[in-house]
Assembly symmetry: C2
Homo-oligomer: 467 residues x 2
């Protein structure tokens, strides 16, 4: 019996794709590289609209633009899905300096973290205590922290190959730094920017106050890595120095915004939905080209590529341009909520939100059966140098769609340069290479095509598992 | 019997590396990413010395710098190897315009091809005939070509995944365009720049006149891709337009230069040599950071990494900074010539000359036995996302070392952005990412370490092959 099972597995592996699939992938890549639209779309989104934080005028322009461009593609349906989003506004450019105990000042580059409160209009000046992690907070205690600015200076770990892992090892300083430091009486928080480069650009990003009442919230800002090094060195020479910073950001009431959705209705299984998406909002410092303009235009391009390559999807393929990934995830949650309410069967979802760099493969959140099916397709991807197929996370926006039976995936581009740009003024159109962007779109379209062609494997019934 | 062979193969595959190897690779990558020298070296070579065409002052400064830096590494030997190199000088910046038949002029961006003759000091003006390939030359014949400038406008093929393949499909226009066009009486040659981008930067590169007598040589220049498009469109509207260009380049007598060589002498097999190299010369338009400053500093870094990781090579490991790859290959030929003359057994040579981008793997010129040994190491490289191990070419400089028994290899970085910079003013330090460069060096050092540890497999004796 076992032998037969093995044989069946082997046969299954042998017939896991056809020559038609090879030809279709070839056509998809060719269309993307010779006739692609993604780069031109990104040019408009980045250079004509620019940074588009949730609730901003630019975010609304991006919604209108996305809808209009999807309508031009001749999809079966295009619509907007209402979603209430937070509106945080940076205000005037932040200002900061180090003041030595001899009253000499040196200006440094900071930016408010997204969601932070403002400082007093005259700014905040206090002594600084540098720490690496929350454990040190506890050790130092209120006695040494009270009245001071806490300076989180744990750098991203350089010897990790995936820069996302290095980011994961640091980002709690940014997200929870203020609420943790406040417990010990800190008056403000300065966080080393989340990048592996030494440069002058502060990197913003979301943070939380949990449920702290307004009056207990302390302002938090990111400092460029060069200035983090300067501050750290200065503290070693002069522990009594003070740090001054001023920021005038504020949080408004939630405002109405939209997810932008387009659909090619399936020819055979219209009630099986496959979602491809990126997020339309971005931070405000750059123009959000890598995060996540790239994912937006690649997701749009997937549907265009399928049509341009003469592929008629059996299942309903949706592109979703999610709103508010950066500071709320309201769009991703809303889409999943509505899908559940309507009983829509989402068999597959793919997110691109890791930059427009050369694609290396995908990360999959799915059952072994579905993952093995993906592995059987690996040879199809080899001509395109796509080699990374691993189990792992998918993406923040598609995450809420997870069921026991479906397949969630995330595009995994080369990660080395991502945090050079992430959430900073350096996330701009010129940092995106046309071919790298296009290869990403083609790689996504290829995976979507294969899952549309072969479907997903639902979980075996409980009885079968037992055996 | 077959089963036993298969079993032996399986066993061989199982013992093809050890846990120590895993640990050594980990240490090599860690050293490269946390304590690497390659980026700092490249900063000096690119920003303090700059473009370093063979025979230039900068090339000589680069030789002295390379020797000094290798001496600091505490190798067993460092020396210079004399080599005579060609000296071609660009002279004043080139100047060119399109003149319509109504005498309206539009300036365009060109640069002389390396080795080209100058135009008349007053410049050259002639009608233009646009062609895609040499076959068209033959079809058009002397009647339609004589007295004209031939404009080669075959673009690089966008849908090839490897940009080097796209380059290979076009570069004969640049290398042989002048000598072919001259046969039909052309007075000059303009070649579309070898890049997949549309931009304003002309890309130089080597060309040949074969054995044409001096008086028959016609000047040749590259035109930026934007201006190639402009010229082509203009010709469609106005076939009688003229093209003017002026360049004042000249060829001098050969001058003395050097390969720079450093060696760690092997502890067990000092007479088995392993070479790692890149080329020290570069074109003159940019600072040669990708081509091939990256290969130079990565090759130097390989020896430093082995030492820093506490590895004592069994075989003699040499770094060779080759002179004159770009327009003569004199350094590569000279090194191989001397090695042969001295009867040095070069078992392995690795070249890095494809840019300082994220490494993807290697191309190997070697026997099946050696290639299979490499394949057995693939799992060791997986944590570093190194996946590309293919048979193919190695590199221009190490090519002359080829024997039946040895292994030649070329580092294969991601190629998407390479021709954005290749031979143009855009080949500058800021286009190199520190981590991508360092990962390349670590990947090279890992392969060198493995070949040093396990040796190469000499070809089986003839009798064994027969069986």
């Amino acid at each position: 019996m076992k032998k037969i099972i093995l044989l069946l597995f082997a046969l299954h592996a042998m017939v896991s794709y056809s020559q038609t699939d090879e030809e279709n992938l070839k056509e998809i890549y060719k269309q993307a590289l010779t006739n692609g639209k993604s780069y031109q779309w990104l040019d408009y989104l980045s250079n004509q609209i620019g940074g588009r934080l949730s609730g901003s005028l630019q975010a609304e322009l991006a919604v209108q633009w996305g809808k209009k461009e999807l309508e031009k593609l001749g999809l079966d349906k295009v619509w907007l899905q209402e979603v209430m989003v937070p509106k945080w506004v940076r205000g005037a450019k932040e200002y900061a300096f180090i003041e030595s105990s001899k009253k000499q000042t040196t200006n440094v580059n900071i930016c408010a973290l997204g969601g932070s409160v403002a400082t007093n209009p005259l700014g905040l000046k206090a002594k600084v205590i540098e720490i690496q992690n929350f454990e040190e907070l506890e050790k130092l205690g209120e006695e040494q922290i009270k009245g001071k600015i806490v300076f989180y200076n744990r750098p991203m770990q350089e010897d990790l190959i995936s820069t996302f892992n290095a980011y994961g090892g640091c980002v709690n300083q940014r997200y929870q730094g203020a609420v943790e430091a406040q417990k010990y009486g800190a008056v403000g928080v300065i966080v080393r920017s989340m990048t592996l480069r030494l440069d002058d650009f502060p990197h913003t990003g979301s943070m939380t106050y949990d449920n702290l009442p307004l009056e207990k919230r302390i302002p938090a800002a990111a400092i460029s890595t060069n200035d983090a090094e300067l501050l750290s060195t200065s503290l070693q020479l002069d522990a009594d120095l003070e740090f001054y910073f001023k920021q005038s950001c504020s949080q408004f009431r939630d405002v109405l915004s939209y997810n932008v959705i387009g659909e090619i209705t399936g020819s055979e299984f219209p009630k099986e939905y496959m979602v491809i998406g990126g997020h339309l909002d971005s931070w405000d410092l750059g123009d959000g080209s890598h995060d996540d303009g790239a994912g937006v235009v690649q997701s749009m391009e997937v549907l265009r590529l399928l049509k341009a390559s003469g592929i008629t999807p059996k299942r309903s393929i949706r592109v979703v341009l999610f709103m508010n990934e950066e500071n709320g995830l309201r769009g991703g949650k809303k889409y999943a909520e509505e899908a559940k309410r309507k009983g829509e069967n989402h068999v597959f979802a793919l997110e691109s939100d890791a930059g427009g760099f050369t694609p290396r493969g995908f990360s999959f959140d799915c059952s072994d059966a579905n993952f093995n099916q993906v592995l059987s397709w690996k040879p199809l991807f080899k001509p395109y140098l796509i080699h990374y197929f691993e189990k792992g996370g998918s993406g923040a926006d598609v995450g809420p769609l997870k069921t026991d039976n479906n397949v969630l995936a995330g595009l995994r581009p080369d990660s080395q340069r991502y945090f050079d740009h992430h959430h900073a003024a350096t996330d701009t159109f010129d940092a995106v290479n046309k071919r790298e962007l296009e290869l990403g779109a083609a790689t996504m379209a290829s995976l979507v095509y294969l899952f549309d062609t072969y479907g997903t494997n639902p979980l075996p019934k409980q009885s079968a598992v037992k055996n």
